[in-house]
Symmetry: none
Amino acid sequence: MNLDNVYKNLTIANNSKIALVVFDGVGDIATETTNFQTPLEVAKTPNLDKLAKKSAMGRMIPVAHAITPGSGPGHLGLFGYDPLEFEVGRGVIEALGVGIDLKAGDVAARANFCSLDANGLVTDRRAGRIDTSVCEKQVDLLKKKIKKIGDVDVIIQAGKGHRFVVVLRGPGLEGPLTNSDPGREGQPIAVAKPVESNPKTEKTAKVLAEFYKLALPLLKNCKPANGFLLRGIAHQPHIPTFADRYGLKAACIAIYPMYKGLAQLVGMTKLEGAHSLQEEMEMAVEAMKMYDFLFIHVKPTDAAGEDGNFAAKVAAIEEADAALATLIAANPYVIVVTGDHSTPVPVKGHSWHPQPVMITGEIAGWDGMERFTERAANHGSLGVFEAKYLIRYMQANAKRFDKFGA
Amino acid sequence: MNLDNVYKNLTIANNSKIALVVFDGVGDIATETTNFQTPLEVAKTPNLDKLAKKSAMGRMIPVAHAITPGSGPGHLGLFGYDPLEFEVGRGVIEALGVGIDLKAGDVAARANFCSLDANGLVTDRRAGRIDTSVCEKQVDLLKKKIKKIGDVDVIIQAGKGHRFVVVLRGPGLEGPLTNSDPGREGQPIAVAKPVESNPKTEKTAKVLAEFYKLALPLLKNCKPANGFLLRGIAHQPHIPTFADRYGLKAACIAIYPMYKGLAQLVGMTKLEGAHSLQEEMEMAVEAMKMYDFLFIHVKPTDAAGEDGNFAAKVAAIEEADAALATLIAANPYVIVVTGDHSTPVPVKGHSWHPQPVMITGEIAGWDGMERFTERAANHGSLGVFEAKYLIRYMQANAKRFDKFGA
């Protein structure tokens, strides 16, 4: 029997609220360079400590043993979707992030302006990182002139800096296609080709080639941003919604576009307007009146890990901990704190190291840990498990599952 | 999606070296008869202790929950091949071990001389454990007279004591066949029959029946070894090579034939000439110049466990630990110490108890354990996992995997 169906058949409705707080990339490792400690161990975290005393802990494998996930697979796992089954192109994530309401079958690409020399060779893959305002002006130029290619609608939207998004909407389109970004300077723009050839991917490649033919002349005098590159060209996969799958009315509170995009992809409502961790938590408390499930995304922990900055990661954890007080005071029935993956300071990037997870609730059970750390989590009752099962523990702790069998 | 393909697509090349040191059967259990301690706990292991401080630990299930593996499945798991998917006949392993270069499609059988009475009943299944020299003489007799049966070449090679190997090479052969060993004295030699009947297995059975018809008369006067029994009759399976699967140029350093055979089966180069643990480690250090991956096999730990000799197992661990100093000094980027299974002293044989594993490396992360023992490993960040994933953690720790998704 399909396990997802088993879970679905056991699902029951109630009013208990669940808050999933993702400290992005929070997991870390203790090495000689970090004085054999992790940022979670060093940080002062009175609020996490308070949660620890009514929590079950464990560690989670984001995708599969030893695989380092990008943010997309990392979050899909947390949302209960096997990242190996539900693959999402970066273009799709970016499109959702800038607020394009994707429809099934749309093909989306992550685009950015670049600089081309007289021979059409890429001299700067980021066009000198032009201002968002310049990007918006140039995107307007393209939008006005290119609305349709054959029977395909072309949707273009500016992002931050040199970045924008291109979405193709029409019959018979499909990804993925290879990047038109050659990956390094001194090369011409590459041709985006089907990863697997079929009539739909071939049509998509043709439309994109035509798009280049129409768009490049329009940018001819737009130095330094007189060209553009496409990456992560893929169609929106069909993903069952959060409401369907879990019976949960869910909302997303995040500051960065990509995380909002990921949440929308699974059918969460995107709540806008928070600009700080404190504002995110306040918004979450307000949203608890309307929603069953709150996904709250905390970015600074990941950024500090990427920078290899131990002190900054400690500070980011302490800031997030302080903001948590607001959420705790509102007393959601279940609070989960975890990461979407580890971003260890010694690695300076995402990694495969299982992230620690803490599930707090009335009936979570205390594992005896005084604090929420990687090494405390090693001793937890949840063991090491795949992240895609976390949602099931949240449902169970929220008393939203019936008994299986008599 | 096939997970092996996912891993393959993520694989990247670099120059980091990986050493897999297998303390055969090192895992043990603490019982009243062992004063509630294990050999790893009692042994003085300054080198393992040094590694522990930059290691992630866990325990591994060699095949599947509660299954006790032979050496074949145990090692295949360590090499990243699911032992339930890649079944290798004991005959194949023995043939590789005595240095026969098997070709795909060859059928190999583990053979041993036995004693028959006048009625053809087996009176001693091991022919009084005759000397190797006697075995060699009798095998020479068979080799001279039986070279071919129909279109099938017959390759016979002596092993140690009463043991030898029979390999059939020709078109349309296949295993597995049932043993001709009746399993107990007082029975006649059994007929080796196809486990699943098809033209290839039937042909193989016919050839072996003919082999018996030709060979037994030749041994008529060779008391006490006037008969022989066949076991583990199987063809060499197609196994993707280590290089193909992991992008690793791998070498094997072992003293006993079977382990060399297993390593060769997955495409490792067999390095010959080491006669002690110290020589094995020296050879490994030298081989690091040429190879990415070194499999170093340490036998005495298993032998002591099989004998139920606690003190001998402690001594074997201490000797291996001393030899490790040479390897550690050469500073491979990743060192893994583990067993292929447990061989607990109180069990006096292989067992299912998950073997402890320690992955040492620059970005392994310290789990807080001061020593490498079974009970320390219970608290490690790797949890309890299937041995076939160990290779993936080695690849990840050697920075030989790209990120999955954006």
